[in-house]
């Protein structure tokens, strides 16, 4: 009897832990400041929905977009911003960043992006490495980045959970977390895992070793899911008589993918490997959301489009390794136009330099596509750095376009954003003006930057 009570107690306790994990632990604590009411007028607007308004207005109210159109009435006590001659876009979203986990300065002591001690580390979460005072974040804000997705590195076959952050100054990572954004899982194809582990004379040392590694992990995940389901299917009385299955951090994450709650973000350069990864997804019945660094996406653009998979690409990086040798400037445009314009193209950075000007990277990729005869208007190309990454992160209902009810993540540019000479003038996150070129106190300096060069001043 005593034993039974003990078991019941433990059972209840573990049930409580499970449920408390699901409701509160690691949840976003981000609450935006008061945006007030702001009317941006006379702007040329790329809405992110595929439309362009040559001269229009946006009304921001209570952190949300309240209205958008050619002419809007000015409600009382609204701050007016005349954006005559300026361009407005949704806040830019970088789906591939390591800010916070590979911060600047690049020191071993804060290089926390790769748990490269085992090829499958689905149990680690990038957010637990994030240094919120990374000075790269405000630089990205000046480049119009309002949301970024932080991934573990690519040393491992399965590298761990990624996290989507709002680009705001906060003391805690929970304070930056995008409210309600789904978790993601980083996977990596190709050279990196086989180099890291093959170099230690351990598995995987080949691409076939990589694939065996993924499949073995999913088999364990399936088995864990079955065990959980079996326990859950028992009657309450039966549950009281035995322990709930022990939590397994690694397999919980993998089961989250199998259940469609966690989105796969898969580093994968080669066309063949993308096709193989899609077959693994078929074998275990999960979905690949995005292939990242998809240098050869153009070779399999139709396959990606058929499977509803996005490709996140650079405009022109290449040659740093063998699997990055077949780059073409038209990659994004070809992906975009696959299957009658049903492809999902994303321009990403993976770089603290590139993240500051995803607009220029998109411009290069768009211009290359247009030169090759693919007809990509500005209103479409802007989606490569706004709505498409939002979709691939599962947050398109909240950001990625300038639509009524969405978060007021808005950028005002001093000209056409598809130009090397254009800079941001104002960047709003949830309607709060976090960068204003006329206010030298913005963006807010990180802790690191205070007194770092001269004790009286900030870094810049």
């Amino acid at each position: 009897m005593k034993k039974l009570i003990f078991i019941v107690f433990i059972g209840t306790f573990s049930f409580l832990t499970l449920s408390s994990k699901e409701t509160t632990a690691f949840e976003s604590t981000y609450i935006p400041g008061d945006s007030g009411d702001i009317l941006i007028q006379n702007a040329r607007i790329l809405t992110g929905t595929g439309n362009e308004i040559l001269r229009g207005s946006i009304l921001i109210s209570s952190n949300k977009i309240k209205a958008i159109g050619e002419t809007l009435d000015k409600p009382a006590s609204t701050q007016i911003i005349d954006a005559n001659g300026k361009w407005v876009t949704p806040g830019i979203i970088d789906i591939h960043s390591h800010m916070g986990v590979y911060p600047a300065p690049g020191l071993r002591s804060s290089s926390d992006g790769n748990e490269s001690t085992s090829p499958v580390t689905a149990h680690v979460w990038a957010e637990h490495s994030v240094w919120t005072q990374d000075p790269q974040m405000p630089l990205a804000l000046k480049g119009g980045i309002t949301t970024f997705h932080v991934l573990p590195g690519s040393a491992n076959l399965i590298g761990g959970r990624g996290v989507t952050l709002k680009n705001i100054w906060a003391r805690t990572v929970q304070g930056m977390k995008f409210p309600g954004a789904p978790y993601t899982l980083k996977m990596a194809c190709g050279e990196n895992p086989k180099r890291v582990y093959g170099g230690r004379n351990s598995e995987p040392s080949t691409r076939m070793g990589n694939v065996a590694g993924y499949r073995k992990a999913w088999i364990r995940a399936q088995s864990y899911r079955n065990k959980l389901a079996e326990y859950e299917s028992k009657s309450e009385e039966a549950k009281e008589l035995e322990y709930a299955p022990t939590r397994d951090l690694e397999l919980e994450t993998l089961v989250g993918v199998l259940n469609g709650e966690i989105l796969i973000q898969n580093h994968c350069y080669r066309g063949e490997e993308m096709a193989v990864m899609l077959d693994i997804a078929k074998e275990f019945n999960y979905k690949v959301t995005t292939f990242h660094h998809a240098i050869e996406a153009y070779k399999v653009a139709d396959i990606l489009a058929e499977n509803g998979v996005c490709a996140a690409m650079w405009a022109d990086w290449w040659g740093f390794k063998h699997e990055a040798f077949d780059m073409v400037w038209e990659n994004a445009a070809i992906v975009d136009q696959a299957n009658g314009g049903n492809g999902c193209a994303i321009i990403h950075s993976d770089s603290s330099v590139g993240i500051q000007r995803l607009n220029q990277e998109a411009a290069k990729a768009m211009a290359a596509g247009n030169r090759a005869g693919l007809d990509i208007p500005l209103s479409r190309a802007i989606q490569w750095i706004t709505l498409n990454p939002a979709k691939a992160l599962g947050i398109a209902g909240k950001v990625g376009s300038l639509e009524v009810g969405k978060m007021a993540d808005v950028v005002i540019w001093d000209g056409n954003p598809f130009s090397v000479y254009t800079k941001t003038e104002k960047v709003f996150v949830d309607g709060v003006l976090l960068y204003d070129k006329d206010n030298p106190l913005t963006p807010k300096a990180t802790d690191f930057e205070l007194g770092i060069i001269s004790s009286e001043g900030d870094r810049l």
């Binding site: 300065p105 180099r195 990086w317 040659g319 073409v328 038209e330 220029q360 290359a368 030169r371 130009s419």
Partner: protein, 410 residues
């Protein structure tokens, strides 16, 4: 054969040879960015004879020139990449495709014999607008080795333009104090100042003035001696303001020609750089405080340095995309650097500082390395349409384009 016949044949062959010697090309109606003090000339012509620019102006007429109408097009001098591993690196992560490093030689490493004109990076960067590369080894010691200038013509016989024109050095990174590296730099130069080629082996065995473990071959000493004799400049990678000041002093004390590469905190010592007339090679796109030696990195560095009178050379960190120096230049312009100075930074200033004769600008007497653009060469949406190397139209195809053509129609 009669004398008349001989004379006739002689005259004929003279005529033929003089005709083939003086080929003329006339580029008409282009917007010409000269990268000289003449600036930009709208709707003008360039006359090229035997690969050399002879005239620039409006309404040039030549009865025997091949004429190219470039209405609506923009031309500029070919870009010069000031600091790359073009021709000596194919794939960064594959050591067997790299010829840019040596543990055997230090200062004396000359990469000329390893340069591969058929590297895929060469037509690719030519297509990006680069016509000349200053290719340098990138060994990680104090000295990386010697820089040479190569044409991106792809020619197996004639790519090398100028051999061993600068010596590269690094004073940060690694375990040793920066102070130790400056001291070793000084000691190395001092030792080499006694260098005489015919007494080299003697010298080599008498290196007591150097710390233990430092070895120089005759080639290394010869390269250093050329710096001491001011025959070639020393290019030192340095970013921290205080390190730049140290180097300025060092150059003065040792009476050498110095070029600073990086100079991310150059804006903090721009007056001193200008006074010492020390040029800088910038990668203006990089404003990341990557280390404690570059905490002051910022996007208006190029502008602030130029304003103080420092000569700016603009490059890219990426050898594979060396041509993206033009995007960096565009960004520098958006942060205040005058446009014409940015173009000079990509062309003329590099040729001047590295003493590459008759290249880097469009002016009479200069070699016709000319790029035809669809628009503003600094704009990210502009493309190269045509490239002339010494007045010859060359292919602007590359491997990447072949791949695109294969897949775009599928």
């Amino acid at each position: 054969m009669s004398l008349n016949k001989k004379v006739f044949i002689g005259l004929l062959s003279l005529l033929i040879s003089s005709f083939s010697l003086s080929e003329e090309l006339l580029l008409k109606n282009a917007k010409i960015h000269t990268a000289t003090d003449r600036g930009t000339i709208d709707k003008a012509d360039v006359l090229i004879r035997d690969g050399v620019i002879v005239r620039i102006g409006k309404n040039i007429v030549s009865s025997r020139a091949v004429v190219e109408d470039l209405s609506g097009k923009v031309i500029s001098p070919g870009l010069i990449a000031p600091q790359t591993q073009l021709g000596i690196v194919e794939i960064e992560l594959i050591p067997e495709t790299r010829d840019d490093r040596s543990d055997i030689y230090s200062a004396g490493l000359s990469i000329d014999s390893a340069f591969n004109p058929s590297s895929t990076l060469i037509p690719y960067n030519l297509t990006g607008g680069v016509t000349l590369s200053l290719t340098s080894p990138s060994s990680s010691g104090l000295f990386s080795g010697l820089t040479s200038a190569f044409s991106l013509s792809g020619s197996l016989e004639a790519s090398l333009i100028h051999s061993n024109i600068a010596l590269s050095a690094n004073i940060s990174g690694g375990e040793d104090s920066m102070a130790a590296k400056i001291q070793l730099l000084a000691d190395s130069l001092t030792l080499s100042s006694y260098f005489e080629l015919n007494k080299c082996s003697e010298m080599y065995h008498n290196k007591s003035s150097l710390p233990q473990g430092v070895n120089y071959s005759c080639r290394d000493l010869f390269a250093l001696k050329n710096v001491v004799d001011k025959k070639i400049p020393l290019v030192v990678r340095a970013n921290r303001a205080s390190a730049i000041l140290t180097l300025i002093d060092f150059a003065k004390t040792n009476n050498i020609n110095l070029i600073i590469n990086g100079a991310e905190e150059g804006w903090r010592v721009s007056r001193q750089l200008a006074e010492a007339e020390i040029p800088v090679i910038l990668q203006p796109i990089d404003n990341i405080p990557n280390s404690f030696n570059e905490l002051g990195s910022r996007l208006d560095n190029a502008y602030l340095l130029h304003k103080s009178g420092v000569k700016i050379l603009i490059g890219s960190h990426e050898t594979h995309n060396a041509y993206l120096s033009r995007q960096g230049a565009g960004i520098a312009v958006s942060y205040g650097l005058p446009w014409k100075e940015a173009l000079k930074g990509l062309t003329k200033n590099i040729a001047e500082v590295f003493k590459i004769d008759k290249r880097g600008s469009i002016q009479p007497g200069y070699i016709a390395d000319i790029v035809v653009w669809t628009g503003d060469p600094l704009e990210v949406t502009s493309f190269v349409e045509q490239v002339y190397l010494s007045g010859e139209s060359v292919s602007t195809k590359n491997r990447s384009m072949r791949l695109k053509e294969r897949y775009i129609s599928q």
